[in-house]
């Protein structure tokens, strides 16, 4: 049994746990990377970070992402999941709209496309002159956008990038919510219907409270993704977008480490990123707990 546990654990400790631990130490040095001198500077790097305007912009962008990305994705996927499971005809058995199986398969598809490909494709779709989006819009008569650079304008770059991430993840959460909704006994929905509740009312007073733990899980997962967002942001706008409007912490960390060789500073960014991630998860759990958690819905 020692081998069974020992080998995987050794690999895990060397390549996952030890780097995490080392990063915390490096974050307190002014290490430039390629020399052996690693002067200990305490919390200087952190002080420097919080005086660095660009890093603060990156934090701000991550916070925008962590608030809006999960909300948009979850609302959209909840609507779709509701339609597929209980949105069907209001007579007879409780079921979804016609063709639900087909929509499930199609919607899930973006989730399996590699993120880099999603980024590459959407960068082309947003292309001002030959992209699909402006092509469609001009066909529909919106001539004003004929060559509008969605990713190149600081007013739209962030929203356009978010739309890409939402596009990639709605299907996944839709499937997750479908599974949760199917776990609710059909009688519950039937009772609501007999009591005269419409579809919207059923969704807000029955479905959402009953699957709130799943929604919480979804919020945490999507939030952690939003705090990283490296792949999407770096492929859509490798330099951080116009006026750094889409720059995220992970991009800043990457360039600080591997282009500027300021490894100590980069590790400090990693620690900040990890701390924000943990605070975020704790907050979501706390809010869910304070607002009733999973206790009051079992009745």
């Amino acid at each position: 049994m020692a081998v069974f546990l020992g080998v995987p654990l050794a690999i895990y400790l060397v390549f996952v746990i030890s780097p995490f631990a080392q990063a915390v130490y490096y974050s307190m040095t002014s290490w430039g990377g390629f020399s052996n001198s690693m002067p200990f500077v305490g919390l200087d790097n952190y002080v420097k970070l919080f005086h660095d305007d660009i890093f603060l912009i990156a934090i701000r962008n991550n916070i925008i992402l962590v608030i809006f990305l999960p909300i948009i994705t979850i609302i959209l996927s909840l609507i779709l999941a509701t339609l597929v499971t209980v949105g069907g005809s209001s007579r007879g058995q409780i079921k979804g709209l016609k063709g639900s199986g087909f929509y499930r398969v199609i919607s899930f598809f973006p989730y399996v496309i590699p993120a880099v490909v999603i980024g590459v494709i959407w960068a082309q779709i947003y292309d001002p002159s030959s992209g699909l989006l402006n092509g469609i819009l001009t066909h529909l008569g919106f001539d004003g956008v004929k060559s509008f650079p969605w990713l190149g304008d600081s007013r739209t770059a962030m929203a356009a990038s978010m739309a890409v991430i939402v596009w990639g993840f709605v299907g996944f959460y839709m499937i997750l919510f479908i599974a949760a909704i199917k776990g609710i006994p059909a009688e519950t929905f039937e009772a609501a219907r007999i009591d005269g509740a419409g579809r919207f009312r059923t969704a807000t007073t029955i479905t959402i409270p009953l699957i709130r733990d799943t929604i919480q899980t979804a919020y945490v997962y999507m939030g952690i993704l939003a705090l990283d967002a490296f792949v999407y942001m770096s492929v859509l706008n490798s330099t951080g977008g116009p006026a750094n409007s889409t720059l995220v912490m992970s991009q800043k960390l990457f360039s600080t480490a591997f282009s500027k060789s300021q490894f100590g500073l980069a590790c400090a960014m990693g620690v900040v990123l990890a701390a924000i991630t943990l605070i975020f998860s704790a907050l979501v759990f706390l809010v869910n707990r304070l607002t009733g958690g999973s206790k009051d819905v079992s009745a």
Binding site: A23, L97, R104, P110, I113, I121, T217
Partner: protein, 263 residues
Amino acid sequence: MLALWALIVFIPLGWTLLSSFKTSTEIFASPFSLPKTWQFGNYVDAWVTAGIGSYFLNTVVVVGSALVIVMVLGSMCAYVLARYVFPGHRVIYFLMLAGLTFPIFLAVVPLFFILKNMGLLNTLPGLIIVYVAFALPFTVFFLFSFFKALPGEIAEAAQIDGAGEWRTFFQVMLPMAKPGLASVAIFNFLGLWNQYLIPVAINTDQSHWVLSQGIVAFAGQMGYAVNFGAMFAAAIIVVVPVLIAYIVFQRQLQGSVSAGTMK
């Protein structure tokens, strides 16, 4: 609403497929029309000239080996954690949890130097072992519950019949966890095929690039009279294997989304 979303999903993909058969001028001039002549040459260009072929091979080697290794090691580890109680049990469990919770970004700089010191930087084995290490916690957590649920009597019976620990595990317990193994394997396959950050950080030698690096570099040269059709073709080449995996295992995957994320 559903139909609208299906269109929003489908149109970009259809457009990509269509564009992959066009010339660059056609893509610029008429984004919607069918290609005048189907440029299958785009695929050849992408595969050969842009090097997608060799990146594809690297990816298959790296993802394939990492997948096999992580499945074997992960199931052994999960098995021991689920079946035996020993000192340090909880510590290991929490270490695994930490690996799932902390962002990879925190680890990326030290990881670079660990590999460098071991002489594994920019090598395929280096990439494989890092993939294995980072896919491990998810694999262990997922399988942990599977092994926990398996009846212990069967393992005992096997032992009474004279099977050693290795034999009990590989011939008796592992086959029983098959549904779980399949789900984890698909998730790991998607995740590793998708991986971008780890290779760009620790695998910068172009001859060892994986697909995700190749396609980003290719797309990044755009604007210098690069063959746009070939770039779309490259995107399609990257997507096809996952598309096939998805279609084959579609039910399994959708079924396990809920099981795997409700920890």
